[in-house]
């Protein structure tokens, strides 16, 4: 390219403009991210453009990114629907001087400066494996997974990490994965088929918010509440009902508000010429600090576990 450079040079004193890209709009998780981003923006004196495609596709996200690039924002933080497909577009953004980070769902290394993981894949995998072991009666029994689409990357890497962590719990037997494609009716149907196929199933793990809700509803409808426990990753506001009923005794999630807050902080600091060199600690304001490793990945913390005792309190927040 002979295209003009340095479109997004944030002159000191001018308000920073940060584009935060969601996987898709209309989900509780990203609403909470938005909240956190707004909070950080207020403290930083930055402007947030929160956007995302209608459906969670890479092509849709690229159109959104093109619009942000054209607006010459100073930084972009993205939770990618596809780690690779958005890379060329993000590279173009970087060529034009826009600082790019990914949060939540990573972009391949070539397409961003750093990735802010809410938690490391390893920690997440370990946490859900631990949840499953705690929920299985005496730590023994079959577990199965209701995933989103087969192509969803963070699902797949969490799943891989969970499988790696499973040998620590010898009582657990891994029965398989089904894909609910992040649509309610298919997730529901697949869950029903799972319990039919494995009548002795002890725990269903679902790592997607549509999946866990649909799986919980299916288990409730099948009259298996208490017998087959559902756990995984979900939002307190979406699962509070099932926690009360005992379908989902506990589950984990990181705080999406904090994630949005932190992503905005990182993006702002990069835009203000901070250099995320190996090992540099970047301050995240009220959430603490994060260090990025050689791959530019920084993890915030272990996912937080919610159960009867605290879910009501958080359901009101996100």
């Amino acid at each position: 390219g002979d295209r003009p450079q340095g479109a997004g040079d944030g002159k000191a004193g001018e308000k920073l403009r940060i584009g935060i890209v969601a996987k898709n709009l209309g989900s509780g998780f990203f609403d909470a991210v938005h909240k956190g981003a707004d909070e950080a923006a207020a403290t930083l004196g930055a402007e947030i453009i929160f956007t995302g495609p209608t459906t969670p596709t890479a092509e849709g996200q690229i159109e959104t990114l093109n619009a942000l690039i054209a607006q010459r924002v100073d930084a972009i933080a993205i939770s990618a629907n596809d780690p690779d497909a958005v890379v060329p577009t993000l590279q173009r953004a970087m060529q034009r001087g826009i600082k790019v980070i990914s949060y939540d769902s990573a972009v391949a290394k070539a397409g961003r400066a750093v990735h802010l993981a809410p938690s490391s894949d390893e920690l997440i995998g370990q946490t859900v494996a631990q949840l499953a072991a705690e929920l299985a009666p005496e730590g023994k029994g079959k577990i199965a997974v209701v995933s989103a689409t087969p192509t969803s990357t963070n699902q797949n890497s969490w799943l891989a990490q969970m499988k790696q962590a499973l040998p620590q719990y010898p009582g657990l037997e891994f029965a398989g994965v089904v894909y609910g494609d992040d649509v309610a009716d298919k997730s529901y149907r697949e869950t029903v088929a799972l319990v039919k196929q494995h009548p002795d199933l002890a725990v269903i793990v679902s790592l997607s918010s549509v999946g866990i809700v649909a799986a919980a509803k299916a288990i409730e409808d099948q009259g298996l509440t208490g017998k087959v426990k559902v756990t995984g990753l979900g939002l307190p506001s979406e699962l509070v009902g099932y926690v009360r009923k005992g379908v989902v005794p506990k589950f984990a999630i990181w705080n999406p508000i904090d994630l949005g807050y932190a992503a905005t902080q990182v993006a702002a600091q990069l835009a203000r010429d901070a250099n995320p060199e190996d090992g540099t600690e970047i301050s995240l304001g009220r959430v603490g600090a994060v260090t990025f490793d050689a791959d530019g990945v920084g993890a915030m913390a272990k996912p937080f576990i919610y159960d009867q005792s605290n879910v009501e309190q958080f359901a009101a927040i996100f």
């Binding site: 709009l25 894909y179 809700v213 509803k217 509070v240 009902g241």
Partner: protein
């Protein structure tokens, strides 16, 4: 005895029935629990919404239309009643049903009026309203979810109420099938839908306004979609912008497999129900017999293609002119 109507249609329904039974039998061979009454009841429960929607869609296709907005209508009406229930949990189920029906009817009537009054092509109208209705859900809900803890127990429990081993949802579908069977065959309205769809130009000569019949079809289809909005939300206990996204294609596929002619005027209630059961059996059986999830979609597609080829009308009925050769 009622004379055998639409012989070719009846033959086709029979063939599809045989295919469905064969399918059931072969799945049962691989997985014996499949044919147990409990499981069959669940398949019916799972197919009920599809059946209801497909019956509505059938009316539209019969009159030479198509309703791509059916799933968006469902989602919008579903969100509406979910929000209603969230904000007024004490209202009970009757107003919820009413609102769902009214909202669905209105949304369907918008399609119908655009097609009738402005004579716009149905595919354009419903492609447009599909996007618009989806967008309105987002505006209505602010993009948030309505979850099971926001829904009252009556709201959720109504459709799961069991009667003679079947859920109320299943009974609703059965009732709709029976009602449609009677209306389509024994009432002037039903027959006029076939008439107007079979030959709209000729229909005007007999005093039937095909545009009006289309409008009626869209409105009924919309009412059903609205009702299904409640059923869907109550069944899966969640409402958000994207529920039932892309479901319209499944509904249309069920109709087409069930022998409803895209060119209008041809289609039976029995065929549509069989088409839905066909899809219902396949989508319940594939995960159960442990087909790799990556292969399920391909197999689904293959089955649809094969069914379409088998049921294509390859040859027109010939007219018998020759008299038997005198010996």
């Amino acid at each position: 005895m009622i004379p055998m109507m639409q012989n070719s249609a009846a033959r086709r329904d029979l063939a599809l029935g045989v295919i469905v039974v064969l399918l059931l039998a072969s799945v049962t061979a691989a997985f014996p629990q499949f044919a147990q009454p409990g499981n069959l009841a669940e398949i019916l429960d799972d197919s009920a919404i599809l059946i209801l929607l497909a019956l509505g869609q059938m009316l539209v296709i019969l009159t030479r239309g198509i309703d791509l907005s059916i799933a968006a209508n469902l989602a919008l009406s579903g969100m509406l009643v979910a929000l209603l229930n969230k904000n007024y949990p004490g209202l009970g189920v009757a107003p919820v049903l009413l609102i769902a029906l009214v909202s669905g009817t209105l949304l369907g009537a918008i399609n119908g009026l655009l097609v009738w009054r402005l004579k716009l092509p149905p595919i354009v109208v419903t492609l447009g309203t599909m996007s618009v209705y989806r967008g309105v859900i987002y505006l209505l809900s602010g993009g948030t979810w309505v979850n099971d803890n926001h829904m009252s127990p009556q709201f959720l429990g109504f459709i799961r109420y069991e009667l003679l081993g079947l859920t109320l949802l299943s009974w609703l579908a059965i009732f709709a099938v029976a009602a449609f069977a009677v209306v389509m065959r024994y009432t002037v309205l039903g027959r006029n839908l076939y008439t107007a769809g079979g030959n709209p130009a000729a229909a005007t000569y007999t005093g039937i306004d095909p545009g009006r019949m289309q409008c009626i079809a869209y409105t009924i289809c919309g009412a059903i979609a609205g009702l299904c909005g409640y059923l869907w939300v109550a069944r899966f206990a969640v409402a958000y912008t994207d529920i039932a996204l892309g479901f319209e294609l499944q509904v249309i596929a069920a109709c087409l497999i069930g022998g409803v002619a895209i060119a209008g005027g041809i289609g039976t209630v029995a065929g549509v129900v069989l088409g839905c059961l066909f899809i219902g059996v396949i989508r319940n059986a594939l995960p159960l017999i442990g087909i790799s999830p990556f292969w399920q979609m391909g197999i689904n597609g293959l089955v649809i293609v094969v069914a379409a080829v088998l049921s294509a009308r390859r040859r027109e009925d010939k007219r018998a002119i020759l008299e038997a050769q005198a010996a």
